[in-house]
Amino acid sequence: MRKSLKTLAAATGLFVASMAAAQAGPYDEFAGTTLVVNFPAHPHYNAVMKVLPEFTKETGIEVEVDQLPYLKMRERQTLELGQEDGDYDLIAYVVFSKADYVYADQLENLARYFMNPKLSDPAYDSDDLIDGYVYNIGFAGGKKGYLEGKTGSLFGIPFGSETSILGYRKDIFDKHGLKVPETYDEMLETACKIPELEPGMGGLSSRAASGHHASHAFLLHLAPLGGRVFDDAWKPRINDEAGVAAANALKTIVDCGPEGAASFGFGEALGSFLNGDTAMFLDTTVVAGQIDDPSKSQVVGKVGWAMHPMGVRRGSQTGGFGIGIPKNALNKEAAFLLMQWLTSKKGDKLVAMAGGNPSRFSTHADAEVNAKFPHMATFGEALKHADPDWRPIIPVWGKINADIGTTLSKVLTEDLDVQEALDGVAERAEAIMDEAGYYTWQ
């Protein structure tokens, strides 16, 4: 009898324990874990820092953040990802690092995490993530090797992604009865009219400094004007009519821009707009927070937002950062839970309210977010035209990108002929592509 009672008690105990286990929350197994993450020093990630305590409170998972300037972050990751056991459980990567990390097999394919019922949140709603961002930042192995497609896989989630938008000075436009530019022709005409109407003021401030800045500014115009760096057979077409038009557009913008515009990096271009030295700014959406911050901006309340003007097509940029799990991470499942939480509807909205860049359509349309940031609706509209293929994300891009940037810098400062400059870039790019094996099948 006593033995039967003992057996019954043990069975009951086991049942209760198994019920408790069955009802355990998805985070319980990982409570007490400390994740080490690597984020850049960037306005979006500064907002994320404000939200992370909420994650720890909800899940019991601690997060230790190694926040570094972007270039330093990339250097550190180059070293970290090559080790057997990595120090980072989750990393933010800039979009063109995707090509390097995926090609070197250093990022986890996320399918096995989204397939795991214990980890994958059914309410995640991946369809709500902005298509252009996901294809640009998260996918690899599909179309052209770096986009979505039937052979593609997901390696990261956009987080801190950006598109391009036109900021303009409402007061200046109202004062002179100027129309907000909708097309490239209108934008260039207005950019050169402003210095005549407002002596001392530049038309549009753009990045133009040698290297990545000049290349970025050129590519920003190339896609809307109908161009691409390569055709479908990887032959450079950067020197075609659209390429020349994009380079000329950049030259016009710099010539009609603020003083010293040819040496402007992103900081100077934005600074010029924030100081009130320029009437328009065409670049990333990430600047909105600073423009509305009275401690940083002299144009608070004076800036209106419009879509990236149309050339032969609409094509705002896609860029910024994504987050992924390194292959050598020690806490991959907990890292996935953090990644999923941060990019969920709730996380995305919390980060947006703290001043970050949302990655979901629903966040852009959210009434509370729009009440706090009225520009969000325009940004959401621009994102419908976000072009994930506005620049190629291939392993040899760094070298081609640097060449485009330094050559265009010579166009802007040394009056090198545009066609001659782009022909040179195309020739050198073809040699780089050939060496990298892109013509093996031709």
């Binding site: 070197a104 400094a209 040698s210 290297g211 000049a214 040819a262 100077e268």
Partner: protein, 298 residues
Amino acid sequence: MNRMTPYLFMAPAAVIIVITLLYPLGYMVYGSFRDWDPSQTIGETEWVGLRNYIVLYGDPAFRESLWVTLKFAFWVVTIEMILGVGLALLLDRNLRGMSVLRTLFILPMMIAPVVVGLMWRYMYHPTVGTINRWLKEFGFSGVDWLGQNALLSVIIADVWQWTPFIFILALAALQSLPSSAIEAARMDGATNWKAIWHIKLPLMMPVLIVTCLLRLIDAFKVLEVILVLTEGGPGLSTEILALRISRTATEFRELGTAAAMSGYLMLLLMTLTAAMFIYTKLVERRAQRLARIVAEAE
């Protein structure tokens, strides 16, 4: 005493030198002969012999970068030597407040290079920068510092930061000169200028050559200030070799090529160092001769 005893005493130092100095150097040289991507361990990489060196030799961007480096190093070292030695000669006297002035002079080299880069970047800013505002205040037009005059701008920033280094060493050299030599020259009716030209400078020369060599080596490796100021632009006009090496390794992910560039840089510096040492020996002999003559005159 065993014949091996001296070597045993030397062994710890030799081991430290091999581990800390020669191993990384050998690693770099070994890497320069391989097709090396950061995702690979060096053992997994393909041996390509001299290919990286040969490709670089024909690479116009690398050659331009090398030329920019030579121009930059020549100008900064020349200007810094003239200013540093000139200031030392000027301030080598016991006047009131001179020690405070000397301390103030050495402040720039205590500032982190990134901060120096940022500081000058803002000072060079075309509209809000102090320099152009002053120029405009005095009726001149603003200068496109970081555009058309980028190389000059980085040279000015470097001269500002590193002239004090030359100044300190030159001053130390001046103060260690035998006062009898200068007094003897004065008694023989030598003017200040003659004393400097014929006595002080020749006696200081061994120190000045080493100082010049140290600055030259440093000028070939400067990175942060230029990275922050111009990022190598416009075009490649300020992309010195250290910046190109850093870009090749991190942006282009071509560690083998970057190692080969470092190999070229090392060869160049070794040649310069060897030339300077030979010259130092010649000058030292001349200085010793001069010292002997001075001693005999006494």
